[in-house]
Symmetry: C2
Subunit: 76 residues, 2 copies
């Protein structure tokens, strides 16, 4: 598993979540995923699927495109 | 599984592959995935992971951001 990519992805999710003043639990509830799952994603421990990327995007009220736009900014 | 999203994703991958005049086999070789896998992705039959999205992006020489930009254009 590409740890760098999932770590960067996790960083973007944490950033977006904090901007929205959501706890990991609150985001998990909105996205309908398990509470521990958000922590694992944010720490880059999971190779997330497209379906779950979309769930998080919807819960964070952000487009898929802008998630990856942020991810690429981190990469530079 | 959200079939709509994976179907749209598959459409984008097929479009990018054809623009590059690559066969499914050639793309599979470049991305180091199984040959049948590309067909499944293009038909929207798989909930692809972030790691494999990146493999395809690299093999297609395109950024993650532009994949999702295209995906959102299809969605409208």
């Amino acid at each position: 598993m590409n740890k760098k990519l999932s770590a960067k992805f996790g960083e973007v999710i944490r950033e977006l979540r904090k901007e929205r003043n959501l706890s990991q639990e609150a985001l998990a509830d909105k996205a309908d995923v398990h509470r521990t799952y958000i922590g694992m994603i944010e720490r880059g421990e999971k190779n997330i699927t497209l379906e779950n990327i979309q769930r998080l995007a919807k819960a964070l009220n952000v487009s898929l495109k802008s998630i990856f736009e942020r991810l690429e900014k981190i990469s530079k």
